[in-house]
Symmetry: D2
Subunit: 284 residues, 4 copies
């Protein structure tokens, strides 16, 4: 079912997000706690921004498990960034291949997903059909996730002139409605779980969503307005100091701190460039 | 542009096809002779039949170059088969991934391709659109090749009750016409090169084809009614002895023998279960 | 800590050993039951014999987890053999690389190990030093396992003219004494766990061993004189029928049958070419 | 035989070193010009320094060919560094595995090699025998290169208190003498080719060396005191502007500029922290 993590804040060495926390994403790759299936060993990916060089993010993905990847272990303590998305995969739809690894990149945008659409094959072609040629051919892999992101970007580009928190949330809502419509039409009865995160490096939008409101969505937490501190092997969220702060959006709590807050069902978290956080319902 | 090889005949240890000939497919993976670009290092695949166990072929593919693959080197001297397709890839359309490796398998059928359709992205969605749901979702990768094979199987299943040399050649012709039609409609002016091989383990059909008759198709040879002998490090095609014979269809001559015959432009080679070989024009 | 499986008997499609049992080795790769750490996702390997082609086994290994390996899933239902060793790895000593995957092959011999020597670096060079040049250079990887097997073969070749159950058990005992001696000398206090299996395709020798007799060795079972049957999705060991029988040596019981017997601590299991099984103490 | 490249100078996006030059290292991975064998497709590696985070370099290696590596293509345009070593491999000694990829890292040191020692197995154990336990166990792979670097570091640590151009050149000379001595003793008659580069991020030492003075060493060039400019797709070495300069040490000229100078046979190139370059004979 995958686990994801997104960070925006004071530049941080990504090692302290990926490896050092007690329940780090690397630990979640083989021993996730807040989901039935503890194993997320079907590849992984990270994407981060280096605004001093370019506004396009770097992505690094692998079909090998995150816990044993030599390159990741080597990169993590030496890469510093103010915006990161990381993902460990448990394959449901789609083979274990680099093309199916999150985060997906579209120009300067990164996107990752935790969840899935059951019987996705039933709606795949219908979901592709409204795409522009460019987005149709942008899809490289087989996952429901990548197709949903293509639909999101397709709507964003066709209906909006700018990429802002408002146009992105609007596009998410349109996309979710679209998927619900297709699921009804092609008789998919299991709910779709769509915890998704979107960033352009400047702001973030994440969703905690399930298509059937009677169900509970997958877990998604955020920590707000804190500093993220690793000291003597212990990871803590501390009160911010001056401009030194960060927002994290994660599938599972990384530590035992009390600052993690569950996002309400079917709500957006919007992290603005200022690191202000807004939470509002998803109107699907 | 890829190189391919297909064998049908007396059971043979595949090492003597893949590694031992002077111009073996493994040599062609780094030093192909009969094509401008000598390098075919973007993955490889082999598929072979074990009729004593099942009528579905085994496929083994890798994104690593064939020349250094430890598993291939280990399997080749120990696998004996009467029907094999092997392929080394030079990526044109599609990333280097297992999903893009040939041969492609559909139930008991194996297929490989050498060539390509320029600007394939222009017609990809139109080529997918007539596919049945099953074949639409059968496609795993991004290559023109896999899409063309899906179209071939789609026609074969929709229009014929049996898989025979006649129904397969009919489906190839229909597919090639279809592609030419789409190329014209979406303004692709470069010719399509379609050297393809199809087998169900019992018979084989191969094509040497270019969509523009004024152009020369890529090379494709066959050797007919011979035995394939490796003796003292020299690979020879010999006169058949009793029932001991074989047909090879190859992108490049494997040896300096005179028994290799170039297939005429835009012709089929049909290898029947009896190993009889027929050559006839492709009516596109 | 790894999990292993060895089969000798009536030719069997390896799918029915690797995938179909309720607690198959593939399941053990992500959810092992009889060991603290359930995950064995650091690569895998299989080796099997095809006596009709050669007396050297085929080995196929991968650094990817067994559960998602496309080639393994493809090979398993189509390969039939009378002698197989399979192994899923949880890396302790040595990186995740093909060179560190079991089974190890030396000419016509296959060997796999479950267990480990703590602080192996302390004795590595001393363990290498008595090796012949040939065996010194035979070692490709970093594992304690491969080094111990080199020592075993070194003793076997230097002191015996033939490879028989007797000379192999003698060499195991010599090797284990050697390791205990080095551990004492270089102050390794944690016990060494050495569940190992050796075959030349004709007979098998396996050990269930811990260097400190006060400790319990890792689990190792065998099933003796049974037939291995997969019917309606249920895997059973049945009473042999005529010559149709098999012996399995496994880290964990593959099914709920009662025919699995734990091998006594510090004992050999010797499976003779006739499939007779002998169990006797290891004199270290 | 491999190709290598080392850069020290004004921070540069590594894309402009790896991909953009006419004869870039990526081009050399499939079409090297100044060596008999044009193919260097057996894995690759890059190592670079990020002094603002740590004095240990980042290394990123892969067993896949450099030309098709998605992660490398993604990292290169977004990583900026003032010190880089890159290497594309043509396997001679040692399998294609991550452990055999250059550059090798020891703490804050990076090292890469182009060349080889014939019949290396003859001296491998003798070369390992003087190593400290730490360096004995530091060796992860099978290459002559990694063993020679272990010997170099072993001498450096045992005989010197500091890592400076002087102590490094002294250690190279000692190591080369050592290898020549072992080659004579164990009857290796083919010359050893040892073009090697060593850096700690502050200074660099490179060697152009062959053990038999009657032979010609492999090519090795440097460009000195220039700026490295990519403009309109053309890569040029220009006269330095203020402090804006760089030194490159490369197996092959990257461009048609006249500023590339062949290093004399059996000479060191020493690039000081100031980017001053000294060339002096290797006394072996």
């Amino acid at each position: 079912m995958c686990r994801l993590m997104a960070y925006k804040g004071t530049p941080i060495v990504i090692d302290s997000l990926l490896y050092q926390p007690k329940n780090s994403l690397i630990n979640q790759s083989f021993n996730a706690k807040e989901i039935e299936e503890p194993l997320n060993g079907d590849g992984f990916g990270i994407g981060w921004y280096v605004p001093e060089v370019t506004n396009e993010p770097v992505t690094f993905v692998s079909v090998n498990p995150a816990w044993s990847n030599r390159n990741l272990r080597n990169l993590a303590p030496k890469i510093k960034t103010e915006c990161l998305i990381a993902h460990v995969r448990a394959a449901s739809v789609g083979e274990v291949s680099e093309s199916n690894c999150h985060p997906f990149q579209y120009n300067n945008i990164l996107m990752a997903h935790n969840g899935g659409v059951e019987e996705f094959a039933k709606i795949k072609r219908h979901l592709r059909s409204p795409l522009s040629d460019e987005l149709y051919n942008w899809i490289k892999g087989q996952t429901d996730s990548e197709h949903i992101f293509a639909l999101l970007i397709n709507h964003l580009k066709a209906n909006h002139n700018a990429i802002t928190p408002e146009t992105v949330t609007d596009s998410f809502e349109h996309t979710f409605r679209n998927i619900k419509h297709l699921m009804t039409k092609y008789d998919i009865r299991e709910p779709a779980y769509l915890n998704m995160v979107f960033t352009d490096g400047n702001f973030m939008v994440a969703t905690r969503y399930v298509s059937d409101e009677k169900e509970e969505p997958l877990t998604l937490y955020h920590s707000e307005g804190s500093r993220y501190v690793v000291e003597d092997g212990i990871t803590r969220l501390e009160a911010p100091r001056d401009n030194d702060q960060a927002v994290l959006v994660v599938s599972e709590k990384l530590s035992d701190d009390k600052d993690w807050r569950m996002i309400p069902p079917n709500h957006f978290v919007i992290v603005e460039p200022s690191l202000n956080v807004r939470i509002r319902p998803i109107k699907d």
